[in-house]
């Protein structure tokens, strides 16, 4: 077990070190988020939009940035020709765990940055910050869990880049519906009949379950993608 943790950590710290050296993914994601939020801003104008539309726009930006940025995880290994090395030295589950952790932190960072920019630029008021943070955390977990396996899948395919959103978005509909609903409740505070937390309980449960199921399924399926 310690061996396994050590291996997974080694994969993670390798990715982190490479990323800090080039800062490609971080810079690209930041610019992507900023640019798309600015686009949203120009499109919306000074219009006063409903909490549902705000939550929807925020998560659309996050999902697209994830679809653009997270595909790199395994494509980079193929490009550098380091796949064989990893296959020989580590077990598949270690690679998956390391990449998952890296992607999770990346998505979480993107979530927080885009949320901050979004809140300031669209001057959204948050009634329940705790609920919003929990939603972001669970959303990031489910999103990175689903994307990591699919990133490994598309690294095997010929077309690569544009393939990830096609494969990813149909699977993310349950996640999107839940996070948008919970985010909307956290913006609005109380909904008629109950407070925001009670109204979001179902969504938080669904998000937890979604993250658990996609990560479990990924761990079980990853070896079939990873090993030739």
């Amino acid at each position: 077990m310690t061996n396994w943790l050590h291996g997974a950590w080694a994969v993670f710290s390798k990715d982190l070190r490479l990323e800090l050296r080039s800062r490609y993914a971080i810079n690209m994601l930041l610019m992507f988020v900023l640019a798309s939020i600015l686009l949203v801003l120009f499109a919306v104008g000074s219009e006063d939009i409903s909490p549902q539309a705000e939550a929807g726009l925020l998560w659309i930006v996050i999902l697209f940035s994830a679809a653009v940025g997270l595909g790199r995880a395994f494509i980079a290994e193929e490009e550098r020709g380091t796949v064989l090395l990893l296959q020989l030295n580590t077990r598949g589950s270690m690679v998956y765990a390391g990449k998952l952790l890296f992607n999770f932190l990346l998505v979480l960072g993107v979530n927080l940055v885009s949320l901050g920019v979004f809140l300031v630029l669209l001057s959204v008021e948050v009634a329940l910050p705790g609920l919003l943070l929990l939603t972001l955390l669970l959303g990031a977990l489910g999103l990175s869990g689903a994307t990591t396996l699919l990133a490994a899948i598309i690294a095997r395919a010929a077309g690569r880049g544009p393939l990830l959103p096609v494969l990813l978005f149909p699977l993310l509909v349950p996640l999107l519906l839940s996070v948008v609903h919970a985010t909307q409740n956290s913006f609005a505070g109380a909904v008629p009949g109950s407070d925001g937390w009670t109204a979001s309980l179902n969504d938080l449960l669904a998000l937890t379950g979604f993250a658990g199921v996609v990560i479990t399924a990924s761990v079980l399926l990853f070896d079939y993608v990873w090993n030739d």
Binding site: R156, L163, V173
Partner: protein, 245 residues
């Protein structure tokens, strides 16, 4: 590869008998579904539904069949990952294609039906009903499955990775069943606040409805086995074309 595949021999006389049975069965079902004469086949008129209620015999069994196909496809993908037999991949792919066909048929029949009953007087063709959304997402998933297949060149790798995607998508679908009805209102029978299917359907309709389900699953079985056999023959032809080294 051919040696690894379990025997693909088909019991042709039995196959023909089942095919004939399905054809006769479906003919009777369709005749019964559209029959106006006779008291016992004249369906009870419900306000607004009137004769469109006959769509029950087509629209609903198409859904049941699609669900069954999704399970068949995921099962064969699972078996493929277990033992790597080519036939499993052929079956999973044939089932996925039919799931798209039945899914689109179900969406169209449902959309037309709803336009002239639930949304009568409005100009709505598509309203996000949970069951409708779920079907649309299922069709999208199988669409993505075929896009992924076309992006992979090596047959063995294609089969393996497509099977992984098929299974991965299959485990996320039940969440739709949980999330969607809590966020969108449904007009379908059995949804929250609506009477269940058994309360609003006259017993006489069930004499056609249940056989229709069996009939549509039979149609699926015919198309499915035919596609699988065609794919097998195609594989054998391809193998003949390859020069022996």
């Amino acid at each position: 590869m051919e040696a690894k595949t379990p025997s693909a021999a088909v019991n042709v006389p039995l196959y023909r008998k089942i095919r004939l049975a399905v054809v006769v069965w479906m003919t009777v079902v369709v005749l019964a579904a559209f029959s106006f004469g006779g008291l016992w086949l004249n369906i009870p008129r419900i306000n607004m539904l009137e004769h469109t209620a006959r769509n029950l015999y087509f629209h609903v069994p198409m859904w049941f069949t699609m669900m069954a196909i999704a399970i068949v496809s995921a099962y064969h993908s699972f078996r493929y990952l277990q033992n790597g037999h080519v036939i499993r991949d052929v079956r999973a792919r044939a089932a996925a294609l039919l799931a798209v066909v039945f899914g689109i048929l179900g969406l169209v029949t449902g959309s037309v039906w709803a336009h002239y009953t639930w949304y009568e007087g409005t100009n709505i063709w598509w309203n996000f009903d949970p069951k409708q959304s779920m079907a649309a997402i299922q069709v999208l998933i199988y669409g993505a499955y075929f896009v992924l297949r076309s992006a992979l060149d090596d047959p063995e790798k294609r089969a393996r990775i497509a099977a992984v995607y098929n299974l991965f998508a299959f485990v996320t679908v039940p969440f739709l069943l949980y999330v969607l009805p809590r966020q969108q209102d449904s007009l379908h029978p059995g949804a929250e606040g609506n009477p269940a299917f058994s309360d609003i359907t006259h017993p006489i309709m069930r004499f056609v409805f249940y056989p229709a389900i069996i009939g549509f699953i039979g149609v699926f079985w015919l198309l499915y086995t035919q596609r699988v056999r065609a794919a097998q023959i195609q594989q054998r032809l391809d193998a003949l074309d390859e020069p022996e080294l």
